[in-house]
Symmetry: C2
Subunit: 194 residues, 2 copies
């Protein structure tokens, strides 16, 4: 069955930048396209300039392009339905938090790693790359495969690449792809508004 791709732009309560409204997390990647290296470099650079607590920059990345042994290692670590589609992405990027430094806890490591990942996604989308972050993967397997040690914890795997053709995707992917984009109203996120 052939399903048309729907407009995925967020319906917002207040105006936001096009790149933020149009960024969304596809599961349909072009399995033939190689990664746009210039766009990947820019996305990494955007992550680099994310703010971090006292400029500690407590994050790292593992970048693996499709076809590499490392890409296959990451695909093998993915849980559930993620394994069905994410291998198509031209690159998989593991975001790693530096949770301790010099044996001291880094309380904002996860938070700041999230900021770096967010900057990455925004720049990627501006340059025509799609992204989808996954929490469902085997952290221990990634940690062991890449020798991360105790100070570094893999937090997310981001699929990065060109959007694939929804018309040739599986029915489950088509359905998920065209499901409504939802967020709770902003009022429900405001504990206090004073």
């Amino acid at each position: 069955m052939s399903t048309p791709a729907l407009d995925r732009t967020a319906v917002t309560e207040a105006p936001i930048l096009d790149v933020l409204a149009e960024r969304w997390s596809t599961r349909i990647f072009d399995a033939q396209a190689t990664i746009d290296e210039a766009a990947l470099s820019s996305a990494l650079e955007a992550a680099r300039w994310a703010p971090t607590a006292a400029n500690t920059q407590p994050w790292r990345v593992i970048v693996a392009r499709r076809g590499s042994e490392q890409h296959a290692t990451i695909v093998a670590s993915l849980a559930g339905f993620n394994a069905a589609w994410a291998g198509d992405a031209a690159a998989l990027v593991v975001f790693v938090a530096e949770t301790t430094r010099d044996d001291q806890p880094m309380p904002w490591a996860l938070y700041d790693t999230g900021q770096a990942a967010a900057h990455f996604t925004v720049q990627a989308h501006a340059d025509g790359l799609s992204t989808h972050q996954m929490g469902g993967f085997d952290r221990d397997a990634i940690s062991a495969a890449f020798g991360l040690g105790d100070a570094f914890t893999p937090i997310s795997v981001m699929a990065v690449g060109e959007l694939g053709d929804i018309r040739t995707a599986s029915e489950e992917l088509q359905q998920r792809e065209n499901a409504p984009r939802t967020r709770r109203p902003i009022a429900e996120s405001l504990i206090v508004n004073a």
Copy 2:
């Protein structure tokens, strides 16, 4: 002593969006300006559309405008030098992570709260607001003052407002404001590049 404001645009290794290159964390806010409500709404909306693990949206915010009791409560919680300048900000926004839901841990709560905060800062800067996130504050005091309970943890306080005049700022603020912007090279953030 009067110091001119320097151009704070990041010197990048690869091109990134102007809004990402130009976003930076001032400590000099206009202590008279009230918050641009439209820009604040847009920044919150940008946070709303940040990606989160399985769309769990495990974050909340406390928004407090200068002059409110809640703004004063947050200023009183700030540690060290933060207390010297952040009270000038027209709004203080506490980013709160939902670290447990239905008594189950939310492993991506901090990471996703960081993503929401990053989206907030990007939209804010696009609309002419400056932001500065602080980790140095009394979490217990904020948690108690706002009745957050065990499931919610305040992670950062973000000063939000219009840029102030560096020429009338204290010498320490002037020096910090014009300190070079630095990040380690992106190559040092790449554990693997395959």
